[in-house]
């Protein structure tokens, strides 16, 4: 009975533990080659455009509607106990501390993370990564480092945009639609907002950027099994990255917002 239980635990945990180990090894290889010249400046800029700039429209739409619905729901709820004046504060704090980094990370994972896994996966199954290695080019340096760095840089940048646009969305609904007074609303927005809220939100975004690019690269880089494998890698990248973002968000928040 006990042996079977141990066997069962072993069978269930073997693959996830192996996967985690390989991700950590990939992280070490990435960090090791990242500091060695030549630096892939052109490649990094291309990835920053792909991951950051091209994600902007979808992030903007998500941010403005999130700010709007947040204001709408908070207003309706707060009105029940006469706290409508705090809607601006709630929107600002929620956006900067939580929704800005998490939502932009999830949206960019769905878009750019899937694209990274699909691209690297296709390169793996069509032997393009082997070809690169055969030409004495380190594929981790050429393919993974630029994506990893771009994720770490561009996600905080997108989070700043999400924060601002979300707060503006909340303002529009509160002031234009629900009839809140503009001046007190703005005061409620700024009075309780601290630089630390924004700063810690950006630290979270930086971590999420590193996490989703590393996971997506890992899934793509180790793809096996043709087109079906590429599909599996893409799905796996989005699911695994999203879960990592949501779970790590709790622990990062516990640590950063004591």
């Amino acid at each position: 009975m006990i042996v079977k239980l141990i066997e069962f635990i072993g069978a269930v945990t073997e693959k996830p533990v192996q996967g985690l180990g390989r991700i950590i090894l990939l992280l070490f290889s990435t960090l090791k080659v990242m500091v060695r010249p030549p630096f892939e400046i052109g490649n990094i800029v291309r990835q920053m455009l792909e991951i950051g700039v091209n994600s902007l429209p979808v992030v903007l739409i998500t941010a403005v509607f999130t700010g709007m619905v947040l204001a709408l729901q908070s207003y309706t709820g707060f009105k029940r106990f006469g706290a409508e004046g705090l809607v601006g504060t709630v929107v600002a704090l929620s956006m900067t501390r939580e929704l800005g980094p998490v939502l932009s990370a999830l949206i960019v994972t769905g878009r750019a993370g899937a694209a990274i896994a699909a691209e690297l996966g296709t390169m793996r199954v069509t032997e393009q990564i082997d070809a690169m290695e055969a030409m004495a080019v380190n594929p981790v340096k050429y393919l993974i480092v630029p994506r990893f760095l771009s994720g770490m840089i561009m996600l905080p940048a997108l989070t700043v945009v999400t924060d601002i646009v979300g707060i503006v969305g909340g303002y529009l609904v509160s002031v234009m639609l629900l009839g809140a007074n503009a001046k007190p609303y703005m005061r409620a927005t700024w009075d309780f907002l601290e630089v630390q809220d924004i700063y810690n939100g950006l630290i979270k975004a930086c971590f999420f950027g590193a996490a989703f690019t590393l996971i997506s690269c890992y899934k793509g880089f180790y793809t096996r099994g043709g087109a079906e494998g590429v599909g599996r890698a893409t799905t796996g990248a989005v699911v695994f990255s999203s879960m990592t973002i949501l779970i790590s968000d709790y622990f990062l928040s516990t640590w950063l917002f004591k």
Binding site: T122, M123, T126, E127, Q128, D130, A131, M132, E133, A134, M135, A136, V137, N138
Partner: protein, 252 residues
């Protein structure tokens, strides 16, 4: 010189190579034949260090690859050019960028200089005016030739060909065979090709070796292989379904 000694390799318990030995002299053209899934590609990838053996050694010009770190391995790899089965061109790059990829990474040449070399190498494989096209716009035969141009761009000492004629029509396959011979004569390279196309093997090989059940079971000149008494080799080169090689779903 290339030497593989007692190479063993398995993937998740599936034994692909079980003690393969192979020796290729400088300037020689060796063709490894064997059925689909016999481990030919795995063998070839060991030569260039893309795969590491579970047991055994790969020696290139007296250097044991297992003793090298990543930088040392990359130095050895610069001696090689490799044509992949599917050509493995980089989708996101133009044809000339594909051909010049190694030059861009390993030399101080400027982009116009690299393009000039790429155009010259493309001309060597019979392609003119396609340098600015994307790989997706090319036919299978053209892709293979671009792959070959990329393989020779760094002027390697050793050329590896992974199924160079697979998936091509007979005329294009023969054109690729002619190119392989031309490369050997013009560039004086050592070459190792793997194939199951016997016509191609007879045409391009100085020596043919057959891989079966993870080991090299026979080797010799094309004439010797054609006249071999080994029943496995005979069945393979004659392309008979019945014989000592048992295919899944087909009896002896």
């Amino acid at each position: 010189m290339i030497e593989l000694r007692d190479i063993h390799k398995s993937f998740e318990g599936n034994y692909v190579l079980r003690g393969a030995d192979l020796k290729v002299e400088k300037g020689e053209s060796l063709v490894v034949i064997g059925g689909s899934g016999s481990g030919k590609s795995v063998l070839l990838k060991h030569i260039i260090g893309l795969l590491k053996p579970d047991r055994g050694t790969v020696v290139i010009d007296s250097t044991d690859l297992s003793l090298l770190d990543e930088e040392g391995l990359n130095e050895i790899r610069k001696k090689f050019g490799m044509l992949f089965q599917s050509a493995a061109l980089f989708d996101s790059m133009k044809v000339w960028e594909n051909v010049g990829f190694g030059l861009k990474r390993h030399t101080r040449m400027t982009a116009p200089e690299i393009k000039e070399v790429a155009v010259r190498k493309l001309r060597m494989v019979g392609l003119v005016g396609i340098e600015d096209e994307m790989p997706s716009e090319l036919s299978g035969g053209m892709r293979k030739r671009v792959g070959l141009a990329r393989a020779i761009a760094m002027e390697p000492e050793i050329l590896l060909y992974d199924e160079p004629t697979t998936g091509l029509d007979p005329i294009m396959a023969d054109a690729i065979n002619e190119l392989i011979i031309k490369m050997r004569e013009k560039l004086k390279v050592t070459s190792v090709a793997i194939t199951h196309d016997m016509k191609s093997a007879y045409k391009i090989a100085d020596t043919i070796a057959m891989l079966y059940n993870g080991v090299i079971i026979d080797s010799g000149s094309p004439e010797e292989i054609q006249n071999t008494s080994n029943p496995v080799v005979r069945q393979f080169i004659e392309g008979r379904a019945k014989g000592p090689i048992v295919l899944e779903g087909i009896g002896k």
